[in-house]
């Protein structure tokens, strides 16, 4: 629970970054087009650049800073890091939170369902492939499977 005073016209994005120093939330357009500023409000993905800070009073907001439990990173953060799903890393917080919400909704999403859930987030580096693979691996681990990435994911096809 955080109590803070801020200018009433500020967006949630500005409130987080400028007033609360939570700079992990990124922006790529500030017009609701790129998904980089995605955060979870009461567990649902929201574009923080399109929401007023005032609108989240009394609601639970999850940002990338809150995705880890202390030093323990979320399984999605681990697989994104290990599989190269974060290249420049600028879109990663938004993707991670959108993926987190997906896996809470559906622990075994198909590739098509992952694409659908992440379609509002743009990444210019990865071509999304490693992101899909990281979500699938994290999903498997969160289901309690001791999954390792397939050989072609890390070395390419033979």
């Amino acid at each position: 629970m955080t109590e803070t005073a801020f200018l009433p016209h500020k967006t949630l994005l500005e409130l987080l970054r400028e007033d609360l120093a939570l700079t992990g939330t990124k922006h790529g357009c500030e017009l609701g087009e790129c998904g980089a500023c995605t955060v979870l409000v009461d567990g649902h993905p929201v574009l923080s650049c399109l929401v007023l800070g005032l609108d989240v009073e009394g609601h639970e907001v999850t940002t990338i800073e809150g995705m880890s439990q202390g030093a323990q990173m979320h399984p999605l953060q681990e697989t994104f890091a290990d599989l190269g799903a974060a290249q420049c890393g600028y879109c990663s917080p938004g993707f991670l939170l959108a993926a987190k919400e997906l896996l809470e909704r559906d622990p075994s999403p198909s590739r098509e369902q992952i694409k659908e859930a992440l379609a509002g987030n743009i990444c210019r580096c990865t071509g999304y492939v490693k992101i899909f693979e990281a979500v699938e691996l994290a999903a498997a681990r969160m289901r309690g499977e001791s999954a390792e990435p397939a050989r072609e994911i890390v070395y390419g096809y033979e």
């Binding site: 970054r17 120093a21 700079t23 992990g24 939330t25 990124k26 922006h27 790529g28 357009c29 500030e30 017009l31 087009e33 790129c34 980089a36 940002t63 990338i64 800073e65 995705m67 880890s68 990173m73 953060q77 681990e78 994104f80 890091a81 599989l83 190269g84 974060a86 290249q87 420049c88 890393g89 600028y90 879109c91 990663s92 917080p93 991670l96 992952i114 694409k115 659908e116 992440l118 379609a119 509002g120 987030n121 743009i122 990444c123 210019r124 580096c125 990865t126 071509g127 999304y128 492939v129 490693k130 992101i131 899909f132 072609e152 994911i153 890390v154 070395y155 390419g156 096809y157 033979e158």
Partner: protein, 813 residues
């Protein structure tokens, strides 16, 4: 036994392994600080007022309404920063703020610093500018036809920025030997990088006369030089720190207005100043892919062997020089490095137009000609009734050879690349055999592993690495390179860890800080892995040498027996009798003093000695082959790319996961260019960007992205560290032509223009149904008076890389 890189036993423990990037976890938990995340005490916020007219003289600027607003601290206009700059020494044509003329919508004319961003924004809008409109130049054709008004007072006449004409060998005789000569015209529309991170920078000027600039730039060294020039400050008083780039792709490679303007604002206000561009402004900064109109004439024998190629390119450069002279040469440089082209002629023209300046985007000047060459080869193969894969394979450039235009080629894995994708895709069962609406195509590409020459002439190294080892076993690598997401920080750590037998995560990497790190020219031209990698290798080997001497003495073992692995130094004959890595450093420090070593890398001299030969040479070329399978809806013209098989000759993967990521990202970016991405302007007088937003500038989402099957071909090239060549840009090159070729296989129409939007595909399908050609694309190129060619005899003709002196050419005629 030592391999080429001095590694004992030859077994690699780090190189070639899928290690996590050294900064990966910070990027996944929000800790990585990008430029806009930096906040300093008393910081001001800046905004740039940009021109809303495309071409005009500035008659008057009134800044007083802004200056009088509460909260406004300073306002600058062009007269405050009168010294021009530009990335290339030959085109110093930009000003931080326009001095007396604006050249495109988005050209900055004033800068404001205020206590907060909202006030800066209001103040910016309070400035009034009186313009006297000039006629505009909207296109290549118009620039060629209209010499007045001139956008710039320099160049090759009128609104022509640059004209070049090079002839290697005797093209005419080459055409005489041909069984088939094809002439085709192609157009490749301009598009932009669209990095997720908007450009941002923070400047601080302290009272002790030192300027620090943090900026999301791919080229801190060139920004450093531009700041020193424009601010008239000694470079030694300026520190540029490149922050991790939230995507670059070439779009953050020029020194930018906003960087210089906030540095000046910090100097006059004595307070830190930040600027973050809006997404719309990022579209105006542009420096993206040049729109290029091309005419290609190729002569071939019946078996597809090329006898001669004559290539013309016309580039729409936009309003400033940027990298444009290099871009122009690049549209003619790499046609020769994949298939043997014995006689070759290139004519290139870059036009100035009143649009945002074009520059380098992933593949810099080479995806456009590659599109033309690969689509034309597909047409040639069909005319000769040859399999396009087999035809290409029969005529590959020989490894370790010099091309007609003096590109020195090392390893060539292209044949292996073609084999791999042909086999994996089931090409032989599918090509020209799939049902109507479904198609398969093939195309190839080649790219530099770093430009052989620096941007400004000098004979110093292109990359430097400094290594410091401390007595507790800590290793710090310092290098001017900047990580733009490709993993260059990690590559430094992997290579040093490999040589010193330690874990890459033990290493601290400090990069892209002009005060702390030796110069690296920047993250462009796919140069970083090869060049910084070689520099890091040298620095690490020098450090290992010092440690080896000290350890050998301590263990009373022969020097050649000492090896480093698993954070230990030991005698290979008595592996148990060894020391920890930290103890080895302590012994060396006791013997030699503080342990610090340096490494540097300079590319080998190029055999191309003619004027213009500075663009194209590289220590090594990477190769790619791609096959795409597509579905085309003949009712709508919508193309869905289902899968791409791509094999890339990377020499050696320093880290295969990162290599795959570059391939997949390149396929993605090529897919966007091939199908949808385009810079689009309102025609004629206004020339305003129609779609400067991420919503309307269409780029592929997760839904449009195709499946990618990647194959890595690893034949180490002696030019690269551990044999590595580039991967960041090359795999993009085959994508636009492979999709065009697959569309033809699917519905029998040629889309000789990028992007292949549904409208174009549908128009071609309808034309074909009416019995017409079934082609969408340009038919003619402008008539131009080309200068006399610079004639360069080819190596086969006994040439030495020099041009025949012009006088000799004239006296012979």
């Amino acid at each position: 036994m030592n391999d080429a890189n001095g590694k004992k036993g030859g077994e690699l423990k780090v190189v070639g392994k899928p290690f996590r990037k050294v900064d990966a976890r910070s990027k996944c938990n929000g800790q990585t600080l990008f430029a806009d995340d930096i906040v300093l005490p008393r910081m001001l916020y800046a905004k740039l007022l940009r021109s809303h007219v495309p071409h005009a003289l500035i008659k008057r600027i009134d800044v007083s309404p802004a200056l009088n607003m509460p909260g406004v601290v300073a306002v600058l206009t062009g007269k405050d920063l009168p010294i021009p700059y530009g990335i290339l020494p030959v085109s110093q044509d930009e000003h931080a703020l326009c001095v007396n003329k604006v050249r495109f919508i988005g050209d900055p004319v004033a800068a404001v610093a205020a206590l907060d961003e909202d006030t800066a924004f209001d103040a910016m809008n309070a400035i009034s500018v009186e313009y006297e409109r000039l006629e505009t130049i909207a296109s290549i054709e118009e620039a060629v036809a209209k010499t007045e008004p001139r956008i710039h007072e320099y160049g090759d006449g009128g609104n022509i920025h640059k004209k070049v004409h090079l002839e290697f060998g005797d093209v005419q005789s080459g055409f005489e030997q041909a069984d088939l000569i094809r002439e085709d015209v192609f157009f490749y529309e301009g598009n932009t990088h669209l990095p997720l991170e908007q450009h941002a920078a923070v400047a601080r000027f302290d009272a002790d006369d030192k300027l620090t600039l943090w900026s999301s730039t791919q080229t801190p060294h060139y920004v450093h030089r531009a700041l020193a020039k424009v601010l008239e400050m000694p470079a030694s008083h300026i520190r540029v720190i490149a922050t991790p780039n939230g995507g670059g792709f070439g779009g953050k490679s020029d020194p930018f207005h906003h960087e210089i303007a906030i540095a000046a604002l910090a100097r006059i206000t004595g307070r830190p100043v930040k600027i973050t561009l809006t997404r719309e402004e990022v579209f105006y900064c542009h420096r993206g892919r040049h729109p290029v109109l091309m005419k290609i004439r190729t002569g071939v024998k019946k078996d597809g062997a090329i006898t001669a190629m004559d290539f013309q390119s016309f580039l729409d450069g936009g309003a400033y020089g940027s990298y444009g002279v290099a871009s122009t040469f690049y549209t003619g440089a790499l046609q020769t490095v994949s298939y043997d082209v014995p006689q070759y002629r290139f004519r290139g023209l870059r036009a100035f137009t009143n649009k945002p300046p074009c520059g380098p985007k992933r593949g810099h000047g080479t995806p456009q000609p590659r599109f033309a060459v690969e689509v034309q080869l597909d047409k040639i193969a069909e005319q000769l009734r040859l399999d396009p894969a087999e035809m290409r394979k029969q005529h590959l450039v020989r490894a370790n050879s010099i091309t007609a235009n003096y590109m020195r080629v090392g390893t060539v894995g292209l044949g292996a690349c073609i084999d791999r994708v042909v086999e994996a895709s089931g090409w032989r069962d599918k090509f020209r055999k799939l049902p109507y609406g479904r198609g398969i195509g093939l195309a190839c590409g080649a790219y530099l592993s770093g430009a052989g020459l620096p941007i400004y002439w000098n004979n110093m190294p292109h990359s430097g690495v400094q290594l410091r080892l401390d007595r507790q076993g800590g290793v710090c690598v310092m290098c001017g390179s900047i990580d733009i997401g490709q993993g260059s920080d990690s590559v430094l750590a992997y290579i040093v860890a490999e040589v010193l037998g330690i874990d890459p995560f033990d290493i601290r990497v400090i990069t892209a800080d002009t005060d702390l790190t030796p110069v690296d020219l920047g993250s462009y031209s796919s140069r970083v892995t090869l060049m910084t990698g070689n520099a890091a290798l040298q620095a690490a080997e020098r450090a290992r040498e010092l440690l080896t001497i000290a350890v050998a003495e301590k263990l009373s073992a022969p020097i050649e027996n000492i090896t480093f692995a698993d954070r230990r130094a030991f005698d290979v004959e008595h592996p148990d009798a060894g020391l920890s890595f930290a103890e080895a450093v302590q012994l060396a420090e006791a013997k030699f003093g503080t342990i610090g070593t340096v490494g540097s890398y300079t590319p080998p001299p190029s055999p191309a000695k003619f004027k213009g030969g500075g663009v194209g040479p590289s220590p090594a070329y990477s190769y790619s082959a791609a096959i795409a399978e597509v579905q085309v809806d003949p009712e709508t013209g919508i193309v869905v790319v289902e899968r791409v098989w791509l094999a890339h000759d990377v020499g050696r993967s320093i880290n295969p996961v990162l290599v795959l990521g570059q391939v997949e990202g390149s396929v993605y970016m090529g897919l966007g260019e091939a199908l949808m991405e385009e810079m689009s302007y309102r025609p004629r007088r206004n020339l305003v960007h129609k779609i400067p937003s991420m919503l309307e500038y269409k780029s592929p989402t997760t839904i449009e992205m195709c499946d990618v099957k990647t194959f890595l071909i690893e034949e180490p090239d002696s030019a690269g560290p551990f044999g590595a060549k580039e991967v960041g840009q090359g795999p993009l090159l085959p994508i636009p032509p492979v999709i065009a070729n697959a569309i033809y296989d699917a519905v029998g129409v040629r889309i000789d223009e990028v992007p292949a939007t549904p409208e174009k595909v549908l128009a071609a399908i309808r034309d074909k149904a009416k019995g017409k050609e079934g082609r969408y694309g340009p038919k003619v190129v402008p008539r131009v008076d080309w200068p006399e060619p610079l004639r360069v005899p080819t190596p086969a003709q006994g040439g030495d890389g020099r041009a025949i002196p012009r006088e000799a050419v004239h006296s012979r005629e």
